[in-house]
Amino acid sequence: MTGLNLAHRFKKTTDLPNRADEGNAGDKNQAPAVPDGLLSRCNKCRKSIYTAQVKEAGYICPHCGGYFRMPVRKRIALLTEPDGFEEWDIGMAVENPLNYKGYPEKVQMLREKYDLDEAVLTGLAQIGSQKAALAVMDGRFLMGSMGHIVGEKITRAVERATRMKLPVIILSCSGGARMQEGMTSLMQMAKTSAALKRHSDAGLLYISVLTDPTMGGVTASFAMLGDVILAEPKALIGFAGPRVIEQTIGQKLPKGFQKAEFLLEHGFLDGIVPRMEMKNELERLLKLHENLAEGQRAFHVKPIQKSKREQKEALLAGEGSPETEETPAAQKKITSTLTPWERVQISRKKDRPVGRDYLNKLFTGFMELHGDRCGGDDPALTGGIALFRGCPVTVLVQKKGKSTTENVDCRFGMMSPEGYRKALRLMKEAEKFHRPVICLVDTPGAFCGMEAEERGQGEAIARNLFELSGLKVPVLSLNIGEGGSGGALALALADEVWMLENSVYSVLSPEGYAAILWKDASLAEEAANLMKMTAPQLKAAGVVERVFAEPKQYTTDTMETVCRQIRQEIGRFLAEKSDMTEKELLEQRYERYRKF
């Protein structure tokens, strides 16, 4: 086949007299031209961009999606309601502790140039329906460095928030300490951290948002102290700057080093939030932490905008859903007569619902929080805050997948020390905000390997038992599949422990048990029949309080009937526990384990 070649075969346009006559002269001002500043170039992808459009659309490159640094007032406008920001502490006088030549003049020049007081603006912000003390830094002002005014304004804002019982949100953007001020700058790190400690001790929420760049003394003080720490995608976050590190160690740093994604992977961020979603995420977080510090007795699960009585009714009733009709008495009895070994096999079935299925069925509005803040984020544990019938609860889920790929990603639900430490961090966060903790257990056991031992697998599990025994909020643990030994117990030292009919809970896998006692893993069936590891057996032994019957074929399609009962029981559990004092709760939990 030969195609038609069109090149140079068409006639060109012949000017009509009335158009040609006008010539090309015209007014020079009328000739098409690009005015200065109309277009600029993206410093990331080098493509040309329409400046005004980029500014209107949140300072984001339309080509590569890269973020530009944002002037502080634009940032505030993006986060707050119109007229929803009342600025605090304007016009503080600059000091020059080192008598650094030209420093006050430079500050004065920047103040005029950007119509800005300093590298931070603080004030009272209205974010959706929520109020918070908000501090936002501006990198244009001496690279957002922390001098005495920055430190003072942040400290005052935090102190004021403590007095007003308000949450604090700080958006960092800073190169670190302000060299021109010497030691005065270093002291700001201590001062701001101390103010945040008092704010935290008052039971108040602090959300830290890290934007590009957050470095040095700012990272090493207020930026890393949030109850929740979020970052913008690809933001550079670190203590020592990448160039300093490269020079010191004489090596090139890997791509993505010290970027937000790197920090998330290493457990220092709760999440990465795109710029245009930040306001919604902040509002959601504020709502989930709403008003729980106020002289409330511990673990009074206070649902949003409801009185205590209404809340209790909501917990018990399930808000008018058909669940009300089912009383606990109507709960199905365990009638099946499977052998323990059969139950072990069912507990490991591939099509059995996994943690995330329950997360969707039992709760709403789940917000995942990442990281142990010590160096890792374990993919085998999903943790975060969700709503149960309107009440915020902290949910910790041992994660199994539905395919081999998914299971490799979440390590078949086998947690590492960083997983237990993430769980502990979120438990303590729940305690601070008087929020019940609900754990979903499904693990063959804690991760077995060199790395896990190096980082203290045993210590991490022990620490969880130690802390859980005294956690001042209700703790509930539900075993949905495999409860493998200490790896499961670290999420199952609770006020009540429940199991699904065909879940198992044991000191060791039957295979391991047989291998240790009889040196033959193939005797697993005999071991299972001996170990008393099934739900009915453990209920009889007083290890668990409640067992939920399963339909014959238990899959995501048939799980609703079971979940209905679980929801009803969770409602009862929370309502019951909210009537107890902290002391009663802890005493009961102590006795629960003391008896063994």
């Binding site: 069109l6 031209a33 277009l39």
Partner: protein, 447 residues
């Protein structure tokens, strides 16, 4: 005065614009992506500038490159065509800042009409009927029940943050409302973490009727009658015709007046289209305004005898419309079929590739707007339309016969097309009767 136009588009619409310019003695500059080097529009224009790699976002959607191409080639104006940047108010604004005549409305009007909420408010204020709905968010079922009564059943319940059909339910009556609302809200909460809902009157199986308008810079606005675009498949128009078999003179006049009022209310200039939904009871509601030329503009050109592209250029040049509403006469009946590179046997999957043999029909009352030729390779990057076949006859029946005759002559070898599917539609009883709505083709395909 416009002397040189850069066409920021490709395919048949770019060719259509180049042809109009040539007849007016206006020089043309084509822009093309690396995949369109041998495309007809690239070859046909007086000059051509490459603006980037094949993906549209790197070429035909790259505003800055197109502005650069305009300045380099010395063009004084840009015709955006359809799709791509044609309804991007930022692009129109960029042209304004650079002293480039944008052949279309000005950027502010475009922006206002591009926002569904403000567009609806503008139309309501101008007395143009809009679909009744709640303006304030609805948070619970009781509140919703009262609002639903005002809106009128059936009611569509929609999540404020909705998308992809999630958090969306239709309630037929008050009995159903509460359950539907709960389900939709629960779904919305689960999917978007937010239970803010809106209600809107639900129009079942309406027709899509649109009115072409022209507005000059001197305050004159006329409408050029309607196009019936109800023959759709997967939200894509398949067949368009003018006049619509569903309108009588009285309704045409009422809708035409509403269209003119809508354009005036928006302060609109240049060619535009007002889309209406028409119910079985012959109620019509404003849907949106398209602030550009449309693919199906030739059917209007044929029944009115007006060249819409040339009028667009004249209006952009500041000329007055050379006719008034009473001069517009709708004559005969025109139908357009879109010929696409797609495979009806495989769910209308796009079918790019090389056209090995090509024969396109002609004869009295047959027009073909296309950018294909023998040996042309249809690239996979852009939409799959190959050609528009438009016919004109004295009556609708005559036009359908002519269309069937012309479709029967088309030969396109090497790729799959929907020509046979279109041919079948010319024998479809419901189409012949003129008795169809926007969901008819979907229902027919299911059968």
């Amino acid at each position: 005065m416009i002397r040189k136009v850069l066409i920021a588009n490709r395919g048949e619409i770019a060719v259509r614009i180049i042809r109009a310019c040539r007849e007016m003695g206006i020089r043309t500059v084509a822009v093309y992506s690396e995949a369109d080097r041998s495309a007809l529009h690239t070859q046909l224009a007086d000059e051509a500038v490459c603006i980037g790699p094949a993906p549209a976002r790197d070429s035909y959607l790259n505003m800055e490159q197109i502005i650069s191409a305009t300045l380099i080639s010395g063009a004084d104006s840009i015709h955006p065509g359809v799709g791509f940047l044609s309804e991007n108010s930022n692009f129109a604004r960029l042209c304004e800042h650079c002293n480039i005549t944008f052949i279309g409305p000005d950027s502010q009007v475009m922006e206002r009409l591009g926002n569904k909420v403000t567009a609806k408010q503008t139309m309501q204020a101008a007395g143009v009927p809009v679909i009744p709905g709640t303006e304030e968010p609805v948070l619970d079922a009781q509140e919703g029940l009262a609002a639903a009564k005002r809106v009128g059943y059936p009611v569509m319940i929609k999540a404020a943050l909705g998308g992809g059909g999630k958090g969306m339910r239709v309630a037929e009556n008050a009995e159903e409302f509460e359950a539907s609302f709960q389900t939709a809200q629960t779904e919305a909460r689960q999917a978007f973490g937010d239970g803010t809902m809106y209600l809107e009157h639900f129009v079942r199986n309406p027709r899509h009727i649109e009115f072409q308008i022209l507005a000059d810079r001197h305050g004159h606005v006329v409408h050029l009658g309607e196009r019936d675009c109800s023959m759709q498949r997967g939200h894509q128009k398949v067949i368009e015709e003018s006049p619509s078999p569903a309108l009588d003179e009285e309704l045409r006049s009422a809708m035409g007046k509403a269209a003119v009022a809508a354009a005036k209310a928006a302060g609109y200039q240049n060619a535009g289209t007002i889309e209406f939904l028409l119910t079985k009871e012959k109620n019509f509601y404003f849907m949106e305004m398209n602030t550009r030329i449309q693919v199906e503009h030739p059917v209007t050109e044929w029944v009115t005898g007006i060249d819409l592209i040339k009028e667009q250029i004249r209006i952009a040049d500041g000329e007055e419309l050379p006719f008034a509403q009473e001069d517009i006469q709708i004559q005969g009946h025109a139908i357009e079929c879109r010929i696409n590179a797609e495979d009806p046997a495989r769910g209308f999957l796009p079918s790019p590739g090389t056209i090995e043999e090509l024969y396109l029909p002609g004869g009295k009352g047959v027009r073909i707007d296309s950018a294909i030729y023998s040996g042309y390779t249809v690239p996979p990057y852009y939409d799959s339309m190959l050609a528009k076949l438009i016919v004109h006859a004295r009556t609708r029946q005559g036009a359908i016969r002519k269309m069937k005759r012309a479709l029967g002559e088309i030969i396109i070898e090497g790729i799959c097309t929907n020509v046979d599917f279109q041919y079948e539609l010319m024998e479809d009883d419901r189409f012949l009767e003129g008795n169809f709505d926007i969901n008819y083709l979907e229902r027919r395909n299911v059968k």
